[in-house]
């Protein structure tokens, strides 16, 4: 398996504050990798270092085989960045903006096709100023992918989306992944990471505190399950057995039955709590 991003011992200080404290990370080519973490954990700093926006104080970083501390045009043309907040190009139409940005790249995608891909064909000749927040984010994504990048960074892409817009956005990310791109995503939404990511990493206090598939993160798959029913609740390693026993006791249907494993959110919250002690 080839790697798109390799980070070893990354550090970054802001004055006396250690924002990133020896972080190791590895993103495989073609996967969707989500980075989770509370505000101030070093998430944005880390991503901005990977994007070539910010310098680092220590550690080894390779993004597509290149040191992002010394970005070149050729390297920049292989990555796509979807910014967190941008209100630029308000007076241009969607199509004008996409065509213009496509001209920066050596082998861009067809701008009209990208517009179609993000579902803005009907709005292609509308000025960006007049778009809704969700449509505006789609333009950001379109601008991030129009250069046909091998690696795409998405920084909290669905903040402020309604649930329907978020679902549509997820489909878009899936489609980009199917095109063969590697996607690095930061998000505050655990269900988003669960829906999209092949692997997630949780950053707390400038370090990775857990890394793995969403389903197994932090021992989630093997954790005790909680079985709840109308008259009680029990935590157990063998929920199936418990349900069978209950079924016998009630002679069939168990009233108010629920079997629950820790959600990604439960695991996440326990992970970011732990290093504070």
């Amino acid at each position: 398996m080839t790697t798109a991003i390799e980070v070893q011992g990354l550090t970054k200080n802001y004055g006396d504050v250690r924002a990133v404290a020896g972080l190791d990370l590895s993103v495989r080519q073609g996967e969707v990798f989500a980075i989770l973490g509370p505000n101030g954990a070093g998430k944005s700093t880390t991503v901005e270092i990977l994007e070539g926006y910010r310098s680092r104080d220590g550690g080894e970083v390779r993004v597509l085989g290149h040191d992002p501390g010394h970005p070149t045009r050729a390297w920049r043309s292989r990555i796509g960045i979807v910014l967190q907040t941008a209100e630029d190009a308000a007076e241009l139409t969607v199509r004008e903006t996409l065509r213009h940005f496509a001209s920066y790249y050596p082998a861009p995608r067809d701008p009209d096709e990208v517009i179609d891909r993000v579902g803005l064909t009907e709005k292609a000749d509308v000025r960006i100023r007049k778009l809704s927040g969700g449509q505006r984010r789609r333009v950001d994504v379109a601008l991030g992918v129009v250069g046909n990048p091998e690696l795409i960074f998405l920084d909290e892409p669905t903040t402020g989306f309604d649930p329907e817009a978020r679902r549509q956005f997820w489909e878009l990310i899936e489609a980009l992944k199917d095109d063969g791109a590697t996607i690095v995503l930061t998000t505050h939404y655990l269900e988003e990471a669960e829906a999209l990511a092949d692997r997630v990493a949780v950053i707390a206090k400038g370090r990775i505190v857990a890394e793995g598939e969403p389903a197994t993160l932090g021992g989630r798959a093997t954790a005790k399950a909680r079985v709840t029913w109308a008259d009680g609740s029990v935590e157990t390693d063998t929920p199936t057995k418990t349900v069978l026993e209950l079924s016998h006791r009630y002679d069939g249907e168990i009233p108010g039955l629920a079997v629950r494993r820790p959600t990604l959110e439960d695991v996440y919250l326990s992970l970011i709590e732990a290093p504070r002690d």
Binding site: E60, R76, R78, L83, A89, E96, Y105, P106, E150
Partner: protein, 280 residues
């Protein structure tokens, strides 16, 4: 140090990066388009000198010695102010906005060569400034009997004063764009010194009515020299007597404006930030 091997199929290895010159020109076309669509900016840039010229031209209709009218004097001065408005003020504000609204950050994340951004800004400013001059000249000629020079000489002077003036002021504007703390305060922070400069650079008030220390301050900045150069073009030899030194001092005009081009460039290269203050 550990060897970090990565191998990713380079989708774009065979394709060549677009030429920086072409991208600079394409930025210029885009910037110009955006400028003219931004109604507020257009009004802000164009209206001030045009309204003032109409106003002053109507209020002051006296003749000066040498057969020059006050309105002619204002035409030349307001062309200088108009050029500086289109370059210094326009860029100082628009780049502060670019820094805050994400334009600069987005561009910095693309393979656009950074100089192409500045080439785009400079060229679009040249277009806007040339248009402004054309409008002011038309008003001057049609309403206030401004005589356009018939010989080639003054027009050559006009071209170099214009190009040096726009370039120097534009570079100064790019450097000044880092001063405002936010896009919202940019208009006030950039326009304030510019208005003061207009009052002490002989745009509205003739030099013989200004104290010497103010003239000295004005002499540091490009506006005084630009206006002086434009007066030489549009008032001709007859107007030279109105100057403090009884001469247009074109050599010094060239020297000071060229110094501002170089100084502005150095300021830009040493102080320009691609990040907003919020980005740390």
């Amino acid at each position: 140090m550990t060897d970090l091997t990565t191998s990713v199929p380079a989708r774009t290895a065979s394709a060549k990066l677009p030429s920086p010159v072409r991208l600079g020109l394409s930025r210029a076309a885009l910037e110009t388009k955006m400028f003219f669509r931004e109604k507020d900016a257009v009004v802000f840039t164009f209206s001030f000198p045009i309204i003032l010229l109409a106003l002053f031209g109507s209020i002051f209709s006296d003749d000066l010695p040498g057969g020059i009218t006050v309105s002619q004097l204002y035409t030349a001065g307001l062309i200088g102010a108009g050029v500086m408005g289109a370059s210094f003020q326009n860029l100082g504000i628009s780049i502060a906005v670019d820094r805050e609204d994400g334009t600069l950050k987005r561009l910095a994340g693309t393979p656009l060569p950074r100089p192409a951004y500045f080439v785009g800004k400079m060229l679009s400013v040249l277009v806007v400034a040339a248009l402004e001059v054309a409008i002011l000249l038309a008003i001057g000629v049609l309403m206030y009997d401004l005589k356009l020079p018939a010989e080639v000489g003054p027009w050559l002077t006009f071209v170099w004063v214009f190009v040096l003036g726009v370039s120097g002021s534009a570079l100064l504007g790019i450097a000044a764009s880092g001063v405002p703390r936010s896009a919202r305060s940019a208009a006030a922070v950039i326009a304030m010194p510019f208005v003061v400069l207009q009052f002490i650079s002989g745009v509205y008030i003739p030099f013989n009515q200004l104290p010497e220390w103010l003239i000295r301050i004005a002499s540091v900045f490009p506006l005084k020299w630009m206006c002086q150069g434009f007066r030489s073009v549009f008032l001709g030899d007859a107007g030279a007597i109105q100057e403090i030194t009884k001469s247009y001092e074109l050599g010094r005009v060239a020297l000071v404006l060229a110094a501002w081009v170089i100084g502005g460039l150095v300021l830009c290269l040493t102080t320009f930030r691609w990040k907003g203050r919020r980005d740390g």
